[in-house]
Amino acid sequence: MLEIRNLHVTVDDKPILRGLDLEVRAGEVHAIMGPNGSGKSTLAHVLAGREGYVVTQGEIRYMGRDLLALAPEERAREGIFLAFQYPVEIPGVANIYLLKAALNAMRRHRGESELDAVDFLALVKGKLKLMDMDEALLYRAVNEGFSGGEKKRNEILQMAVLEPRLAILDETDSGLDIDALKVVANGVNAMRSPERAMILVTHYQRLLDYIRPDRVHVLALGRIALSGGPDLAQDLERRGYGWVEGWVQAEAQKRHAASAGGAG
C-alpha cells in the first residue's frame, strides 16, 4: 500500500529525513518509535502533504501512485488520514460541520451520494459511543478549548467516521489517561481490517500492549535505523535510544571508512 524509498526531507533548509525506507502493506500495523526530534512527525506531515516539508530526494508510492504529486485534500480523499500530534483549534467552525464536510468530500470523491442530516447524525452518534465521547463536543468549535485527551479522542472520532485506508496516528496516546488510552485503543482495534493499514507513532510500549503491531521501527538520525517484531519495543524500553543511535553511527562510520578505502 505504501512504499517509501530513500526519502530525504528538509524543513527550512534543515535536513530532517536522510534516506528513509519503509514499506507498509494492507492489513498491517506498524509502530514507529524514536527519540524526540528524530523526524517522526516530519514523516507523518510529509505523508499528509503539509506545506514547508521539502522532499529533496526519494519517492513515496501509495496504492501504486506517486503520492507526492497529490494535494493534501486529494490524499485525504484517497484514504490517507493523519491523526495530528497537535490537533489544531478552529474557532467558529463546529466540530460536526467539519465531520460532515469531510465525510461528504470523501463520498463525492468516491462517486457516492452525500449523506443526509439524519443518516449522518446516526452514523456520528454510533462512533461517538465507540469513543466514549460527549455529544456536546460535536457542537463546539473544532478542538477549541478541548482538553488534551479530548483533542486526541476527537482525532480518532474523525478517523472512525472517515474510515481511511491508511491511518497515521502521531502520538495519539500521549497525554491520555489510562481509561482514555483503552478507549482509543479499542477504537483503533475496531478499525483493523485486511484492507486497512496503520502507522502508529508512539514513545510508549503501553499503547502497543493494546494495539499489537506487526512491525516496530526505530527512526533515528533521519532514517529507519532498526526494524523488528513487536518485541523490539520492549528492548527499546529497556535499553533506550542511545543504544540504537550508537549502533547507527558505528554503522555509518564503517560505511564511510569502506568507501574512503575504496576511493584510495
Binding site: 499528509a48 502533504g49 503539509r50 506545506e51 494535494a71 493534501p72 485534500e73 490524499r75 485525504a76 480523499r77 493523519l82 495530528f84 490537533p87 489544531v88 483549534e89 478552529i90 474557532p91 467558529g92 467552525v93 467539519l98 464536510a101 469531510a102 468530500a105 470523501m106 470523491h109 468549535a141 473544532v142 474523525q158 472517515l162
Partner: protein, 443 residues
C-alpha cells in the same frame, strides 16, 4: 491633498441648487425650504472634506471632488430595475423601494404598507410626509442635529426622499422594514434621508440597503437619523452593496433615551470608495448600544468606517465588534471613538476590531479613540490584523476539504460573530452568501 475651488464637484452643485431647490419635496413648506437653504450654505462653505481633516485622514475623496454629478427629478422603472429589486428582496420583510432617490410604491411590498401596520405606526415616504403633514415631521428634523461635514450638509440640502418611520409608545413592528435604495444611472448623485423615531417602549428592525450596477459610477450620499424613546429598541442594519465603481458616503446617528437599546450592523461589500459614520449617543441612564460591522473588500476598494459611541449618562453599556476581510489591494479604515463623559459613571464599554488580510497588498488602518472623563468605568478595546492560519487551513485540507472551500470556511468562521447579532434569518443567510468564496445562497 487640498481640494481646490477648481475641482468641479462643489461648483457643480452650487450652480444646480437654485433650480433644484424649487422642485425638491417640501419646497413650499417654509421651515423646510429654510432648512435646505441653510444646509446648502453650510455645504458651500465647508466643501468636501480633505485628508487634512482629522476624520478623513486616511480617506481621500479627491475622486469625488473631480466629478460633476447630476441630480435627476424624474425616474424610470424598467424591467431591469424590477429584476434588481427581486434579486435583492429579503424574505419576511416589508419592503420600501427607492429608485435613484425616489420612493416607488409599485415596487414596494406590500404596496399598501400603511394598511398592514399596527395602530400608532407610521411607515412611509419622507417626501410624501413633508408634503402631506409637514408639521408632524418637523420635530424629527429638529432632532436630527447639525451636519458634521460637507456630505451631510449636502444631503440635508438636497435629500429627495427616504423612509419616515414614526412609532407611537408601545408599538412593535414585527416584520423588519427593508429600505431598498437602487441607483440606476451613471454620473448621478442621490441623497436618501431616513428619519426613524421609536416612542416609549416601541421597537422595530430596519434594514437600509443600498445597491447599484457595477458598471456605473455614481454618488450615494445618505443620512439616517434615529431617535429612541425610553425603553425603545431599534435594530438598524445597513447593507452597502453599491456597484464597484460607486462612491458611497453614509451618516447614521442615533440618539438614545433612557434604558433604550440600539443595535447597529454596518455591512459593506460594494463601492469603489465607501465611508460610513455610525454614531450613537447614550443620552440617558441605562442605555445599551451594540455596534457590529463587517467589511469585505477586494480589487482596489477603499472602505472606511468611523464609529462614535458617546456615553453621556450613567450605567450605559456598549459593545462594539467590527471585522474586516480584505483581499487583493483593498484598503480599509476603522476608527472607533468611544467617549465616556464625566457624568457617565458606571459605563461599560468594549470595543474590538479584527482584520483578516487575504493578500500582501491589502491594508488596514485601525485606530481606537477613547476619551474617558469618568472614573468609575469599565472600558477595553483591542485591534488585530492577521492572515488566514496556515495550520488551520492545512488541517481542513488534511480532512479532504478542498483548499478553496477550506479558505471560505475559515473566512466564514472569522466573520461569524460580526453577523451573529442579526436576528432575521433570511438576512443573515444573505450576508453569509456574500462572503468571499461562499456558496450561492440556495446551496
Amino acid at each position: 491633498m487640498r481640494i481646490g475651488p477648481e475641482e468641479p464637484c462643489v461648483p457643480g452643485f452650487v450652480s444646480a441648487y437654485p433650480s433644484l431647490a424649487v422642485q425638491l419635496p417640501g419646497a413650499a413648506v417654509p421651515w423646510l425650504r429654510r432648512s435646505r437653504d441653510e444646509a446648502f450654505e453650510r455645504f458651500a462653505a465647508l466643501g468636501l472634506p480633505t485628508t487634512r481633516d482629522e476624520d478623513w485622514k486616511y480617506t481621500s475623496v479627491a475622486a469625488i471632488a473631480r466629478r460633476v454629478f447630476r441630480v435627476d427629478g424624474a425616474i424610470e422603472v424598467s424591467d431591469e430595475v424590477r429584476a434588481v429589486v427581486l434579486r435583492h428582496a429579503i424574505e419576511g420583510t416589508q419592503r420600501m423601494v427607492f429608485v435613484d432617490g425616489h420612493f416607488v410604491p409599485g415596487l414596494s411590498q406590500p404596496a399598501t404598507l400603511q394598511a398592514t401596520l399596527p395602530e400608532g405606526a407610521r411607515v412611509g415616504s419622507l417626501a410624501q410626509a413633508v408634503e402631506a403633514r409637514a408639521d408632524d415631521v418637523e420635530p424629527l428634523f429638529a432632532a436630527a442635529g447639525d451636519a458634521a461635514d460637507g456630505f451631510s450638509a449636502l444631503n440635508a440640502a438636497l435629500w429627495s426622499d427616504g423612509a419616515w418611520i414614526d412609532l407611537a409608545a408601545g408599538v412593535a413592528l414585527e416584520a423588519p422594514v427593508h429600505l431598498l435604495f437602487v441607483t440606476t444611472r451613471s454620473d448621478s448623485a442621490s441623497f436618501p434621508r431616513n428619519l426613524i423615531r421609536a416612542g416609549e417602549g416601541a421597537s422595530a428592525t430596519v434594514i437600509e440597503h443600498h445597491v447599484g450596477p457595477d458598471g456605473a459610477s455614481y454618488l450615494s450620499d445618505t443620512v439616517t437619523r434615529i431617535v429612541l424613546g425610553r425603553g425603545a429598541r431599534i435594530a438598524h442594519t445597513k447593507l452597502q452593496q453599491e456597484g464597484r465603481k460607486a462612491f458611497h458616503v453614509a451618516d447614521v446617528a442615533a440618539e438614545q433615551g433612557q434604558d433604550s437599546a440600539f443595535v447597529s450592523h454596518a455591512l459593506a461589500f460594494g463601492g469603489q470608495l465607501s465611508r460610513a459614520a455610525i454614531a450613537t449617543r447614550l443620552g440617558a441612564e441605562g442605555c445599551d448600544a451594540k455596534l457590529a460591522g463587517l467589511y469585505v473588500g477586494s480589487g482596489r476598494q477603499h472602505i472606511d468606517h468611523h464609529t462614535c459611541i458617546d456615553h453621556a449618562a450613567p450605567r450605559g453599556t456598549s459593545r462594539e465588534l467590527y471585522k474586516g476581510v480584505l483581499d487583493e489591494a483593498a484598503r480599509a479604515v476603522f476608527n472607533g471613538r468611544v467617549i465616556v463623559r464625566p457624568d457617565a459613571q458606571r459605563s461599560d464599554a468594549l470595543q474590538s476590531n479584527r482584520n483578516l488580510l487575504l493578500s500582501e497588498d491589502a491594508e488596514v488602518d485601525t485606530k481606537p479613540q477613547l476619551e474617558i472623563w469618568a472614573d468609575d468605568v469599565k472600558c477595553a478595546h483591542g485591534a488585530t490584523v492577521g492572515q488566514l492560519d496556515a495550520d488551520q487551513l492545512h488541517y481542513l485540507r488534511a480532512r479532504g476539504i478542498a483548499e478553496g472551500d477550506a479558505r471560505a470556511l475559515l473566512i466564514r468562521a472569522f466573520a461569524a460573530d460580526a453577523l451573529a447579532g442579526i436576528e432575521h434569518g433570511p438576512l443573515r443567510a444573505r450576508l453569509e452568501s456574500l462572503l468571499p468564496g461562499a456558496l450561492p445562497e440556495a446551496a
